[in-house]
């Protein structure tokens, strides 16, 4: 398994191989062909950042450019899914969620439930997340917690090329609506990816580093910042367990709680805004189910409660980094209960 692909290439390959395997798989979205009706590859953009490059030349009309009308084409994809196709529809930036939220949360997410299990909606909504791209407040958010809130949606947030391919294939083959979040800063990240098709199951968090002192729970690009922090801390003899959620819905509660039972110390790292977020959700879950194991209050490392700034220096400050994570880990390690503090005085 020595072959290496970028995160972006891994997504492209998953789409390509699934389209080759199953003719019901189609792509819909703004610029996914990036020049429908042209002679082919040379003229077709293949998505705003080139993720679907080459697929129009290979699959022709199964790759459909749409007008800038998310409510229409997301709705069309959802309808096509109920009628037997397996559309992968691209909501270019998850920030555009607002204009098609009814289609997603009140239609796609509810069909199976509302129609007594008689309707399946095998649609995948691919969408970009993440700050650090100098793309300002309307193209830089990480809104997975909003989708995770909705029962009936599955939410996938990969952090590596291997997981991106395997989770996207799993998403395409899943019979429920799946929202697939791609952090745009991860697109160039390279890693080992098998040439063959494979699936990574939903609801299984990945322990990307083992440790017994502190549990760092995180997702998407923050997995890599957390690993950097864990490296730095290891130099001082602090061993962090870093857990990549991979999917926020379903959520692998068991892996998190098992780890906390060993470490008793938790830092949740989430690049999204701090209120009603994955960070608060995970923290609540641990407080509720593993209170007895905790040796210190749970720390959250998140962005502040502001829009993503456009100024470079402010955006850099906005985004959590390894340094912030190291401080949070030190805080949970150095914590002393009020009894301990009181007995000293």
């Amino acid at each position: 398994m020595a072959r290496r692909l970028s995160f972006q290439q891994a997504i492209n390959e998953a789409l390509d191989q699934e389209m080759a395997r199953d003719e019901n798989v189609i792509l819909i979205g703004e610029d996914v062909a990036g020049g429908q009706g042209t002679e082919g590859d040379m003229d077709a953009w293949g998505g705003v950042l080139g993720v679907t490059k080459g697929l129009y030349a290979k699959y022709g009309d199964r790759v459909m450019d749409t007008p800038i009308s998310e409510s229409a084409f997301i709705g069309a994809a959802i309808g096509a899914a109920t009628a037997g196709l397996r559309p992968v529809v691209e909501l270019m930036f998850n920030d555009f969620l607002g204009v098609c939220f009814d289609q997603i949360f009140n239609q796609a997410a509810k069909f199976r439930y509302m129609f007594g299990g008689k309707v399946e909606t095998p649609v995948v909504i691919r969408t970009m997340i993440g700050s650090g791209f100098r793309a300002a407040a309307q193209h830089s958010q990480s809104l997975y917690s909003i989708f995770t809130h909705i029962p009936g949606l599955k939410c996938v947030v990969p952090a590596t090329p291997y997981d991106a391919k395997g989770l996207l294939i799993e998403a395409i083959r899943d019979n429920d609506p799946v929202v697939f979040f791609e952090h745009k800063k991860l697109y160039p990240l390279e890693g080992e990816v098998p040439e063959e098709l494979y699936t990574v199951p939903f609801g299984e968090a990945e322990i990307v580093r083992e440790g017994e002192d502190v549990t760092i729970i995180t997702l998407a690009e923050m997995v890599h910042e957390s690993l950097k922090a864990a490296e730095l801390l290891a130099q001082d003899g602090v061993e962090c367990e870093v857990i990549d959620l991979r999917t926020t819905s379903p959520l692998d509660q068991e892996t998190l709680l098992d780890s906390v039972a060993v470490t008793g110390r938790v830092v949740v790292v989430d690049e999204a805004n701090p209120r009603c977020s994955m960070a608060t959700d995970i923290s609540a879950l641990i407080a509720q189910h593993a209170f007895g194991a905790l040796k210190a209050p749970i720390q959250m490392v998140t962005a502040p409660h502001t829009p993503v700034p456009f100024a470079d220096n402010l955006e850099d400050l906005y985004k959590p980094n390894a340094e912030n994570i190291v401080s949070a880990v030190r805080k949970v390690l150095e914590y002393q209960s009020w009894e301990a503090t009181a007995s000293k005085n």
């Binding site: 398994m1 020595a2 291997y162 098998p194 990574v200 199951p201 083992e210």
Partner: protein, 373 residues
Amino acid sequence: MGSDGIQKLTMPKWGLSMTHGKVIEWLVPEGAEILAGTEVIEVETEKITGAVEAQFDGTLRRHVVSAGQDVPIGGLLAITADLSVSDEQIDRFVEDFLPGSATDESAPAELVSEYAEVEGRRIRYLKQGQGGRPAVLIHGFAGSLDNWLFNHAPLAKQRSVYALDLPGHGQSSKDVGEGSLEMLIGTLHDWLQVLELPPVHLVGHSLGGAVALGMALQYPDRVLSCTLIASAALGPEIDVDYIEGVVEAHRRKQLKPWLERLFADPKRVTRQLVDDLLKFKRLDGVREALGRIAENFIVNGVQAVIFRSQLDQLRPPTQVIWGGQDQIIPPSHAVGLPDLVVVEKLEDCGHMLQMEAAREVNQLVLSFLEKAD
């Protein structure tokens, strides 16, 4: 060989993906006399922990690295030299040493696996060593050529040694047809033809032992000798729960306890070992392939194919090696074999003894192949 009677011990490359190893502990102190084959230092890779053996006889003069240190493959671990060599000469040698440079003739070569088209299937294999009478290593159920990471290079010092991925396994095609042992034997036979290899020594582990044995019975002219390690097809009993568990498990937590059954010491099972098998199992077609092979291989809770009664007619010299703590196929299958079959038992090992007791297994195989050449 080093200059001025100085011999060096460097970080080996175990398996295709190893790039560095972490020093766990020294097994031999400075100043000790060692022989080629002495286990000198314990090293941990992402996959597994193993011991690096001395290549030469001599006095272990210098530990160049210390516990906890990460060393790239080819990096200097220790110096062996006569007492006539001064400490200053050793200092100079250590200072001048650059892995992969002209002073380092032992830097391990980059390993690249190859593929052959065999009857419509893509078969991956890895070749190490040159010349001599070739040997072929055949892994067991749900294994791959990576199972030989501690054996492949040591066995390939005097001859070319091939390891292959059977159909349905590793990076070979996942199409196994009916999944019969006949198909596996046929593929091995055809693969040897495609590579135009002369008669070969076969070394098979577990299911791979059954494949080797079947090959030796059907095509005795193509086989120089058989080494059967914890082999299938020598008796009815087998841990059916293990086979079913490995076929069905698709999550880390489900898989790990089964892998722990493979070793006498369950701590041998690292995260990476579980991960590698999990990644293999997630490939399209693997579940079906393993399921088919298992169905053919085990019927009504016992092994369906048993060659024991035919061992009398087996022409190539045969050696059987078993771990006394094997939980998958009982070591009793090594008892009561015809006199011509050489039987070796390693009391403290489990089913994966070529990993667990790599040094002993390598020595047994090397001396047996030499005699059978």
